[in-house]
């Protein structure tokens, strides 16, 4: 209970600070504002880093791992592997692995947004050392007793360093705290089974608990066939959680990445207050192959791509990966102050 009060006090203080500094700026350029309101960004972030050690940390540690803990895990940021070059999926050029990583897997030759692992993407988004993984262990569930399913999941856990197809946690983007989720297409096409649905639902609830905005990077082949009907039910569960989060005033931002299809596109991926997308990402309900089989004709070029979705009114903006952090920071900034009139 005290933790919650502390949070509200902080919010109240921030609001007051925002209002007051705005007021001071308004009443005259000549007036020298008090030094406390003139802190540089560096000072501010130093402060917030400091506050982590001043009791604030206990607020979050019930639901989040300690910051940096996951970073020590060598699987957090993939080390330079034996591969020396990576082939761009679009232009097929061989790009030095080191260079590809620096560009966040955007091909320096043709600009194609190649797939990026969930951990690397998370790393590219948050301020260094601020990521704290959400605590939400979900045991392995196999409702259909699907042949070899357990081995497959365990193999992927070893290979990717993820416990399931979504990585969730709290982090700061240019100093703005947020709940951030990244789906990893390297984990069974980031299909949504019970674990993914449960984790995302839990993340909505925890984001609401701490009044954090929620940023979700979606990528998925859809519902996870291997878990049958219970995968389908995750669509209802996550959508209901998004709805409830919204009703309570939470800001939900969706970043659609390649590919977001099926049951994920038809649930929490399409429920954002703000929806942005990476260039050329495939976004749609039915897969292109199924549509072609159904209508018996080839699909036009660019069909279901991010630009197509923007044209049809389902995406606010297309944001290249290199600008993602900046744009998210802008969105968070624009929602920080919620009182009118100022």
């Amino acid at each position: 209970m005290r933790d919650k009060e502390q949070l509200y006090v902080n919010h109240w203080y921030e609001d007051l600070y925002n209002c007051f500094s705005h007021f001071l700026q308004k009443i005259g350029s000549g007036v020298k504002t008090m030094s406390i309101f003139n802190r540089t960004k560096a000072e501010q972030s130093e402060d917030s880093a400091g506050s982590k050690h001043s009791g604030h940390i206990s607020d979050y540690s019930e639901d989040f791992e300690t910051a940096g803990k996951d970073n020590k895990d060598k699987s957090e940021i993939p080390e330079d592997s034996v591969v020396e070059t990576i082939t761009c999926s679009a232009c097929k050029k061989e790009i030095p692995a080191e260079q590809m990583r620096k560009c966040l897997c955007v091909c320096p030759e043709c600009g194609a947004h190649n797939k990026i692992s969930a951990k690397r993407r998370m790393h590219s988004l948050v301020d260094p050392g601020t990521f704290r993984k959400l605590k939400c262990p979900v045991p392995f569930v196999d409702p259909l007793a699907y042949p070899d399913y357990k081995d497959k999941i365990e193999g992927l856990q070893d290979k990717t360093g993820l416990d399931e197809a979504v990585l969730l946690g709290m982090g700061e983007i240019e100093g703005h705290k947020a709940m951030i989720g990244v789906m990893g297409s390297e984990f069974l096409m980031a299909s949504m089974g019970i674990a993914v649905g449960e984790k995302i639902t839990h993340a909505f609830e925890i984001a609401d608990k701490y009044k954090l905005p929620f940023i979700m990077f979606t990528a998925s082949g859809g519902a996870r066939m291997q878990e049958g009907i219970l995968s389908l039910m995750q669509m209802a569960k996550t959508s209901a959680a998004a709805q409830r989060f919204g009703e309570r005033g939470g800001l939900y931002v969706v970043a659609l990445t390649h590919p977001t299809t099926g049951g994920v596109s038809a649930s929490f991926a399409m429920l954002g207050d703000i929806t942005i997308a990476e260039p050329d990402a495939l976004i749609g309900f039915a897969g292109p192959r199924v549509i072609e089989q159904t209508i018996g004709q080839k699909l036009p070029a660019g069909f279901q791509r991010a630009e197509f979705q923007e044209e049809h009114g389902f995406v606010d903006q297309i944001v290249p990966r290199a600008e993602m952090r900046e744009v998210l920071s802008q969105i968070l900034r624009l929602h920080e102050k919620r009182r009118w009139p100022l």
Partner: protein, 317 residues
């Protein structure tokens, strides 16, 4: 296979009809008697349908359809059309009616009974406008405090060019989210096949029932086999693996109850199914009458929030 038995029964029914239309003589009477006793024997063999049998029965062309249920269970039906955003979708039939004198909103997937109707109603595969129309009706039901009853029977949402352009994913997602928060009771009944998000998009209900031989799954068995094994002809195998029968889903807590069907499927005695449905609806609506609008929304939210809790808890052990 029930398919073979069912086809034989259909032949027998035709033969009986031709024999009875003839002038009555001793030979014809004997023939009819023989046919009837064969029919009875065949029907008895339908007692333990396999999952693949149920998929066949769930899709049976003579199975009662949404308009049959509306006619049988409700009075004073007023049809509503259009999503009020420029489009209409005939694959969803719905409107306002009364149930034992109480105004309700009813809607469901419409497949049609013959090939012409199938084509006209797109085989019960809605486009976004269908889901938006359904949502419009449900929002209105909430405004006027009417319970909502939905009938699910679809191979899935339509995977077409225009459907994608018009936001199929968006329409389904909005339905899931908004249905979860409705402040009136919602009762869903899977009457035939309930496949994928296209079924769930009108299925986020306080109580979900299934007919005994209906099936409900993440995808059609053909689609399942095609995705996992790249071979849609292995659908029979998929039926066994998918756990898509009412009995399986009851065990998973996905549904609340099963409506019994007559031997051989609902089409053998629809009246019996209507009576069972009527009893169930009366009992359910009586139960929800005691809940406040907020309690109804919370009840539905909690249902889907914790649907898999027991299975997760069991896996933890």
């Amino acid at each position: 296979m029930i398919r073979d038995i069912d086809e034989r029964i259909q032949d027998i029914d035709k033969e009986i009809e031709t024999e009875s239309s003839k002038e009555s003589d001793y030979a014809a009477d004997v023939k009819i008697k023989e046919l009837k006793s064969e029919r009875k024997k065949l029907l008895k063999q339908c007692s333990n349908p396999t999952p693949a049998d149920k998929v066949y029965l769930a899709r049976h062309k003579n199975r009662p359809k949404v308009d049959d249920y509306i006619n049988a269970l409700f009075d004073d039906f007023f049809v509503q059309r259009g999503d009020a955003l420029g489009r209409e979708d005939k694959s969803i039939l719905g409107g306002i009616a009364t149930f034992h004198g109480v105004p309700v909103t009813v809607l469901g997937h419409r497949k049609g009974r013959n090939i012409n109707e199938n084509m006209e109603y797109n085989f019960g595969m809605p486009e976004p406008q269908g889901y938006r129309k359904a949502m419009r009706m449900m929002k209105q039901a909430e405004k006027f405090d009417r319970p909502i009853i939905t009938f699910i029977d679809t191979p899935g949402a339509y995977p077409g060019l225009e459907a994608e352009e018009n936001g199929q994913a968006n329409a389904i997602a909005k339905n899931l989210a908004e249905m979860s928060a409705l402040k009136v009771p919602v009762i869903a009944i899977v009457t035939g096949e309930g496949s994928s998000g296209g079924a769930l998009a009108i299925g986020v209900a306080n109580s979900v029932y299934m007919l005994e031989n209906a099936v409900y799954s993440v995808l059609s068995p053909e689609g399942f086999a095609s995705i996992l094994w790249k071979d849609s002809s292995r659908s029979a195998e998929a039926c066994d693996l998918m756990k898509l029968t009412a009995q399986d889903l009851k065990r998973f807590h996905v549904i609340d109850g099963i409506i019994p069907e007559p031997l051989g499927g609902a089409h053998h005695n629809p009246q019996k199914v209507y009576r069972e449905l009527d009893n169930m609806l009366v009992a359910e609506l009586t139960k929800y009458k005691k809940m406040s609008p907020n309690e109804l929304a919370r009840n539905r939210y909690e249902k889907f929030r914790h649907m898999d809790a027991a299975i997760i808890a069991k896996a933890k052990k």
